[in-house]
Amino acid sequence: MLAALAGLFACQLAGEFLVRALGLPLPGPVLGLLLLLLFLVLRGSVPKSLEVTANGLLRHLGLLFVPAGVGVITQLEPIAGAWPGLLVALVVSTGLALAGTGWLYARMAHRPKGRKA
């Protein structure tokens, strides 16, 4: 498990390094994700301990956003001044993006032969 955690950190570190060195418009962890994916594809399987550790972390992924989420209290002033517009924009645009992506994908992925997408 410790080795798996070290592996995840190492991928993130490599990602952060490459993003800065090459000036890529990506967060380091996302490039780290791609590096790990490349490693798994080359290896052809997922090491058991990595599978277990990753599942453990991802089971509580929501928790990891809570500290940043509480940061809302630092921006109450600009929000309070324009809240009706912000609320409408947030609700409508998030709804449209969800509906547009979900609907179009489902429509295109389900081909006539009835194959499950």
């Binding site: 950190f9 790990l36 992506t101």
Partner: protein, 239 residues
């Protein structure tokens, strides 16, 4: 000051307190979410952020003080993002087979999110600062903050709206997708990832590993895509 108050003042300043409080709130919120049968309003991220924000405001605790403890949780976001490679790896075959559908869904959702935000905010008379800060709000926060800054917006304001978008999408997205009769796990995941980035992905992982994998994919691809086209709108926003 009574001894009890003194102890409280001491503890409230310790990182361990914020850390314990955050974990306990999360466990409680998760219990309520499961008890409610997965209702939108009971989304554990929504409940936790609400409870902790009210607590900090009521106790006049600075966010910076809270974050000294909470940063240990926040830190794990990086390795957790890398860990999304595992569910993605298991879905690679399906992703390859459905590449055109993924590209079409991604482009549509991404453009709808940005365009509708800009149009609605402009209709409400919002200024260029808000437009630039909110335009990338469906994108994962490090990228959204950088894009907002590039467009002349405020990175902290962008970060907050990224989080609010994520919470909104993660809470009510599954409900909306049910209403639209979108049952395909991959479609639901992709939609949650494109519209609500990592928080949507966290919600998608609760539906299934496949749903979570497609959400992670949607999140990553939307960050790339938006970073490619949003700066081109810069002139339009300032003009």
């Amino acid at each position: 000051m009574t001894p009890l108050q003194e102890i409280w003042v001491y503890l409230a300043e310790r990182p361990l307190f914020a850390l314990t409080l955050t974990l306990a709130t999360w466990l409680g919120a998760q219990w309520i979410f499961e008890r409610s049968g997965g209702r939108a309003w009971a989304n554990p991220v929504l409940l936790s952020v609400l409870v902790l924000s009210v607590f900090l405001l009521a106790s006049r605790t600075e966010y910076a003080t809270y974050f000294e403890g909470a940063q240990f949780i926040h830190f794990l976001l990086g390795p957790a993002t890398v860990a999304l490679a595992i569910p993605l790896y298991h879905q690679l075959g399906r992703i390859r087979r459905n590449a055109p559908a993924i590209a079409a869904g991604l482009a549509t959702g991404s453009l709808l999110a940005v365009a509708s935000t800009l149009i609605l905010l402009a209709l409400f008379g919002a200024g260029p600062l808000l437009l630039a800060s909110l335009a990338p709000k469906s994108v994962t926060s490090p990228v959204a903050m950088a894009l907002a800054e590039q467009l002349g917006g405020s990175p902290p304001l962008a970060a907050v709206h990224v989080i609010l978008t994520g919470i909104l999408g993660a809470s009510f997205g599954p409900w909306l997708l049910d209403r639209l009769r979108i049952a395909d796990e991959a479609a639901r995941g992709l939609a949650l990832g494109v519209a609500a980035h990592g928080i949507g992905t966290a919600r998608a992982l609760r539906e299934s590993a496949r749903c979570g994998a497609f959400a992670g994919l949607g999140m990553g691809l939307n960050a790339l895509l938006t970073a490619a086209y949003l700066p081109l709108l810069g002139g339009l926003l300032s003009g």
